[in-house]
Symmetry: C2
Subunit: 123 residues, 2 copies
DNA sequence: CTGGATCCTTTCAGATACTG
DNA sequence: CAGTATCTGAAAGGATCCAG
């Protein structure tokens, strides 16, 4: 039996918990980057641009734990590690890309709104 | 002149910046709740369930600043304050709901993956 | 090349108390 | 009812050094 998603109490807390896991910028950016195909650690680091190695490795670990990505190690010297989306991760791509694209489309609008808001409140 | 969204460097930093603004659970939960129509402060607080009044008021302020919601005050006693989505906010609803629904649909899958992962790593 | 371990600073977020 | 102010602990995040 499935849990009741429409329950007014536990359902909301559940959404809250799950969004707490996936709704952060590093997670969304990584899933987005891996949409193009498997990538290695430093390729991800370079393509995302402003992520520290610590945040990248810790976020990747969490994503692997949640079954969203797979970590493939080829034990050569130097070792090669490739990250790719699982079926679950690929299923996640559509909503993630939709949100990211929305953000890009409306970036200027939001910036303008911020400027007006800050102006009104003589910041 | 518009910024170049397709530039490989600044474009990525721009996505990163915008996702840093909107990709957090309180923002998504509030936008989701306001999808049903305008709501008042304590109604939001009750419906979201586990949000503190501090986080609610500060997140609402940020959302108003970014032009995603509107704050309407009716100066009665006691005062009535109603929050509602702007056109921008309504446009944001689709991607937000898509991500939230994905999270709910796959909550159990992610939980199971976590359990297996933690088991393998004898946590 | 792919990280782990550590240190340090900043930000987030809850609890509590108070105001118009 | 709808918040603000303050205090405090937890978590995020960067910098640096080190290792397989």
């Amino acid at each position: 039996m499935q849990p009741d998603y429409h329950d007014e109490t536990s359902g909301c807390l559940r959404v809250s918990e799950m969004l707490g896991r996936i709704a952060n910028k590093w997670t969304l950016l990584i899933v987005r980057e891996l949409g193009d195909g498997p990538k290695r650690f430093n390729a991800l680091r370079r393509d995302i641009g402003d992520i520290s190695q610590k945040m990248l490795s810790s976020t990747l670990k969490t994503l692997e734990r949640d079954g969203i990505i797979i970590r493939d190690v080829t034990p050569t010297t130097p070792p090669q590690v490739e990250y790719s989306l699982t079926p679950l991760g690929r299923d996640m791509q559509a909503p993630v890309n939709a949100l990211a694209e929305w953000a890009m489309r409306n970036a200027d609008t939001m910036d303008a709104s911020r400027n007006r808001f800050d102006m009104r409140n003589h910041a």
